[in-house]
């Protein structure tokens, strides 16, 4: 009898043949080897990872307790995966169940009483299970753990929570076999290492489904020109609308929720014959589920979506993928292209809709990167202390723990392998006394060592509150959008809601809505009959920075000798469009080149402008700009207004002098010493860290969002993260949570390591100076940006002065 006969039977009954990579994965699992399965969504990853376990279960006549954990970051995914896992087990003694934030109390109780053979779970729910006193019993029969979407988890604090949980599971099941599943990654070995316990190794299993992606760029016409700057791209609406066909599903990806709403609105008007739906992260989950179901049934002709649909949502491949604007990264493009239906002999094609002319350069760069198979490198998250503190309390709920054994367990996690005894002791002191500094916290309680030196939770109240707030996902403060009669439409950011006045009309969930009032944290609205949309909703919806992999290649797209990759179907048109832009750029200024840094200068009635083009991406630029300005201030006092985008940095000064100095002192300004202290001074880092502190405070249990339906009982503990930050910063500035928040800001918001690299590489490139009479094509988007993204280096008094000038009008 051949190996894996039972699961093969199942495949045969379905009319499938297992892929080679699935068989490879099964053999590895059977040999108790860890692995990372790299494969696109919808190509059999679930059964690759679980097949060997299912085959084994099919040989067991009786239930065997909890055998396999399937960790998935998204609740939305569990239903599909649950079905995929349960189907081959149908008729056997084995169950597949899911536990997540949506599970009812009785479902949860059932899992505790009689654990299923395969349990699907989110990282948060796993933490909650590990906090249970019954955890050792539940997990003692565990043999395998599958971590889905590891590429997504890996870079986040949820990933840290996941691997900390794995370390604990290995205490109960020492021979646990770990299987990761990820999309295609630049460095899968590093990703696997981050998932596995320190010192253990595994293999990479690759799905051999390599498909060449083709690109097609929507061309502009005499009547509809692509603008030089802009984010919406509705000028090409007609061309896009013509592309959609009734009866065939088209997926249109936008980058922001705002963009998605506008495209949805516009397409609904010009293609009233189509069945069109809208999908983005702010919509109520029922609305999103309906769209996901429609995608599965194939009843929708066109879905306008944001990246909320990128992850995990499993549905049948669609006929056509359209991307509005730039996907901002190679990986995202590949992921989106993976949604296209595979026809024998045909390549998946993504239609690209430029919203401004510079997007054409991004498209050429995308094609280059695909040719080079250059994916964005992804760094696994480094061990952060807020997640660790939460985990230590979670485990204390299960049973009191001994510090030395605990440190050894934590160091099994790759991200925490270098956690020093000293820092760990500081964490213990924080849990026991509130702070590791000498500041007094007289009534503080959380964990206390008991008589035998084991750390235990001090009160039932603390235990209950901790269970309620386990997790690391921190959304921006959100308010619910609700009709007067009670129907919930979804959520929007609080600060957007706060700017609305009664009567204001805005677009949301594909409707025109008028604000009535804010009530108990809900935004009450009614359908707006007439009237003008007073404000384009600018709720952020995640600004995607351009990846550095792409940014660097854009420089090359300006070099007219580089031909456009043949994977672009209309390469000739694109090539001539690029040449046209490059010609205009060269006439007005110069084209960027790899061995120098383009530096444009011109005067306007606003003052003197100097624009640098390092092409290092927005994250790096938003730190680099203020850094340069602060270092210039050492030579001459100056008031500079700094604007950044993905391509460059604009410095605006009332006088020429500081800008002259930047040119003469160029290399002196780029040293890597004292970058953090200079940034601190440049950016009013404190204010930015204060914003970031919400995440840290929430994870470390400083903010309690309350028991469901019991708002009042927690009123005495209500406080904002900003307030807690102020108190800590003033009275206990060395607190480890403040340090953590600052590190998060420097690494996540400013990408400090890349800033350092950029400084070094820039210092080897001289400035290529160009004096302009008027702004060049490259400069235009920056000049338009200025209104929305000013970075202040002004003194407090000047800021107040400026903000109140309008009062006297």
């Amino acid at each position: 009898m051949s190996q894996f006969a039972s699961i093969r039977d199942y495949f045969q009954a379905q009319g499938f043949t297992p892929f080679t990579f699935q068989e490879t994965a099964w053999s590895l699992t059977q040999a108790s080897k860890h692995q990372l399965i790299q494969c696109p969504t919808g190509s059999g990853k679930t059964l690759a990872a679980a097949g060997a376990w299912i085959d084994d279960l099919l040989h067991q006549p009786k239930s065997v307790g909890l055998r396999v954990l399937y960790i998935t970051p998204l609740r939305a995914m569990t239903r599909d995966i649950e079905r995929a896992l349960a189907a081959p087990l149908e008729g056997s003694a084995h169950m597949v169940l899911a536990r997540n934030g949506d599970s009812t109390a009785s479902e949860r109780a059932r899992i505790m009483r009689k654990p299923p053979a395969i349990l699907m779970i989110t990282p948060e729910s796993l933490s909650v299970l590990l906090a249970s006193t019954k955890a050792p019993d539940i997990f003692k029969h565990l043999r395998g753990c599958i971590v889905d979407e590891w590429h997504d988890l890996m870079v986040s604090k949820r990933g840290l929570q996941t691997v900390l949980c794995l370390a604990r599971l290995r205490q109960y099941a020492p021979n646990l076999v770990i299987t990761g599943i990820s999309a295609t990654l630049a460095d899968p070995e590093r990703a696997l290492q981050a998932l596995l316990p320190v010192g253990e190794t595994g293999q990479i299993t690759r799905a051999e489904i390599a498909r060449e992606i083709q690109l097609r760029v929507i061309e502009d016409t005499e009547s509809a020109r692509i603008p030089w700057a802009g984010h919406l791209g509705l000028t090409l609406l007609k061309e896009v609308a013509r592309d959609c066909v009734a009866g065939e599903t088209t997926l249109l990806f936008a980058n922001t929720r705002n963009q998605a709403e506008q495209w949805y609105q516009a397409l609904s008007i010009v293609r009233a014959d189509l069945n069109i739906a809208l999908h983005h992260g702010s919509l109520a989950s029922e609305a999103r589920n309906a769209v996901e179901t429609g995608l599965k049934d194939g009843t929708l002709d066109l879905v306008v979506a944001t990246s909320a649909l990128d992850l995990g949502v499993d549905f049948q491949a669609v006929e056509r993928i359209i991307q509005v604007g730039s996907p901002r990264s190679v990986s995202r493009l590949i992921q989106r292209a993976g949604r296209a239906r595979h026809r024998p002999g045909a390549h998946p094609t993504v239609t690209l809709v430029p919203t401004n002319r510079l997007h054409l350069h991004e498209y050429a760069a995308l094609a280059d990167a695909l040719d080079d198979q250059a994916l964005e490198p992804m760094q696994p998250a480094r061990g952060s202390l807020d997640v660790l503190l939460q985990h230590l309390v979670t485990l204390a709920l299960q049973t009191p723990w001994e510090p030395n054994a605990m440190l050894a367990e934590i160091r099994q996690v790759d991200a925490y392998r270098n956690l020093s005894q000293e820092v760990f002791m500081e964490c213990l002191t924080v849990l026991e006394k509130g702070s590791h500094s000498l500041t007094e916290y007289s009534a503080y309680q959380k964990l206390k060592p008991n008589a035998s030196g084991r750390y235990a939770v001090t009160s039932l109240q603390i235990a209950r509150r901790h269970r309620m707030s386990i997790g690391t996902i921190v959304s921006h403060a959100q308010v619910r959008v609700r009709m007067r009669r009670g129907q919930s439409l979804g959520h929007i950011e609080e600060n957007f809601a706060g700017r609305l006045r009664p009567g204001d009309i805005f677009r949301f969930a594909g409707r025109r809505l008028a604000m009535i009032r804010l009530e108990d944290g809900d935004l009450i609205v009614k359908p707006a009959a007439g009237g003008r949309v007073s404000e384009v909703p600018r709720w952020t919806g995640g600004r995607l920075p351009l990846s550095q992999t792409l940014a660097h290649r854009i420089e090359r797209a300006f070099d007219r000798s580089t031909p456009v990759s043949p994977r672009v179907l209309n390469a000739d048109w694109l090539s001539s469009a690029l040449q046209k832009t490059a010609w205009i750029q060269a006439t007005l200024s110069a084209n960027p080149e790899a061995d120098s840094v383009l530096c444009e200068r011109f005067r306007s009635r606003d003052g003197s402008h100097l624009i640098l083009y390092p092409f290092s991406g927005w994250l790096v630029h938003q730190a680099l700009g203020p850094l340069l300005a602060t270092r210039l201030a050492a030579y001459t006092p100056a008031t500079l207004t700094i604007t950044v985008n993905d391509y460059g940095i604009e410095l605006l000064s009332p006088t020429e002098e500081p800008l002259d100095l930047l040119v003469t002192r160029w290399t002196d300004l780029l040293h890597t010493d004292g970058v953090i202290s200079d940034l601190d001074q440049a950016l009013n880092l404190t204010e930015i860290v204060r914003r970031q502190f919400r995440t840290t405070a929430r994870i470390a249990g400083l903010i309690f969002e309350g028991y469901p339906g019991k708002q009042k009982s927690t009123r005495m503990l209500q406080s904002s993260a900003g307030l807690l930050f102020d108190v800590l910063a003033e009275h206990d500035p060395d607190h480890i949570l403040l340090a953590q928040a600052k590190r998060d800001v420097l690494e996540d918001e400013f990408d400090l390591p890349r800033l350092m690299e950029t400084l070094t590489s820039l210092s080897a490139r001289p400035l290529h100076l160009c004096a302009l009479k008027k702004p060049s094509p490259l400069a235009l988007p920056l000049l338009i940006e200025r209104l929305s993204a000013r970075l202040s280096t002004e003194r407090l008094q000047d800021r107040l002065q400026r903000m109140t000038e309008a009062f006297n009008d």
Binding site: V430, A443, S719, L724, L800, M803
Partner: protein, 218 residues
């Protein structure tokens, strides 16, 4: 120190979050929330004692600097009465009983069943509202705004904003000619934000108390 005119009386809005009436040597403040840090600590949230020590030291300093003979505390003296320990009362009372000033308190919503504790601190408990120079003193603002009233309770803050920037500070707010809202005295408090353009607010900033529409401290 900034002059503040309300209901025909001349007050001084002070950077230490108190309101002083020089001609009667009376100091007003509201929302001390004593014991708030400890309530948080008991729930495992690290808010240090230092913030409360600082509040109390600021109170001592304000009384000393103004030479006030009368002190009015307009409610929310305590944060949560049921959590207060005897040793805390002892510690606090040293701040109230060393002064030569007489102190009156109007009990707020957080002070429920705190009558006896307030008296233990040496404070005289007064009804809400109490009359003072033709002005009502109360913890809660009067929804009807029939008569001039000085109140606390809501912890007003003021927000300055432009397209690209914003700043928030605690403030004395006069949303209506009959209503003066005091800032929360404790530094550990947030509150609703008034728009500097729309409400008359005296912002308590690091560069001093800024009167409405003026950006330079007097």
């Amino acid at each position: 120190m900034t002059e503040l005119l309300f209901a025909g009386e001349h007050f001084v809005a002070r950077a230490d979050r108190t309101l002083f009436h020089p001609s009667s040597q009376t100091l007003f403040l509201s929302d001390l929330h004593l014991g708030k840090a400890q309530v948080f600590q008991a729930a495992g949230i690290p808010v240090t004692d230092a913030s409360e020590h600082q509040d109390l030291a600021r109170l001592d300093q304000a009384i000393q600097d103004t030479g006030a003979l009368h002190v009015w505390i307009l409610g929310d003296l305590f944060h949560q009465v049921s959590c207060i320990q005897a040793c805390q009362i002892q510690q606090w009372s040293s701040h109230f009983q060393t002064h030569t000033a007489t102190a009156q308190v109007i009990l707020g919503n957080h002070d429920r069943s705190g009558h006896a504790l307030a008296e233990q601190l040496g404070l005289t408990v007064c009804p809400e509202p109490s009359q003072w120079n033709g002005i009502q003193l109360a913890h809660h603002p009067d929804p009807n705004r029939h008569a001039p009233r000085i109140a606390g309770h809501i912890h007003p803050q003021v927000q300055f904003k432009s397209a690209s920037d914003h700043l928030v500070y605690p403030c004395f707010a006069i949303p209506h000619s009959h209503e003066l809202l005091l800032p929360a005295f404790t530094g550990f408090s947030g509150g609703p934000r008034f728009d500097a353009k729309q409400t008359s607010c005296y912002a308590i900033t690091p560069i001093g108390v800024l009167p409405p529409g003026k950006m330079t401290p007097r």
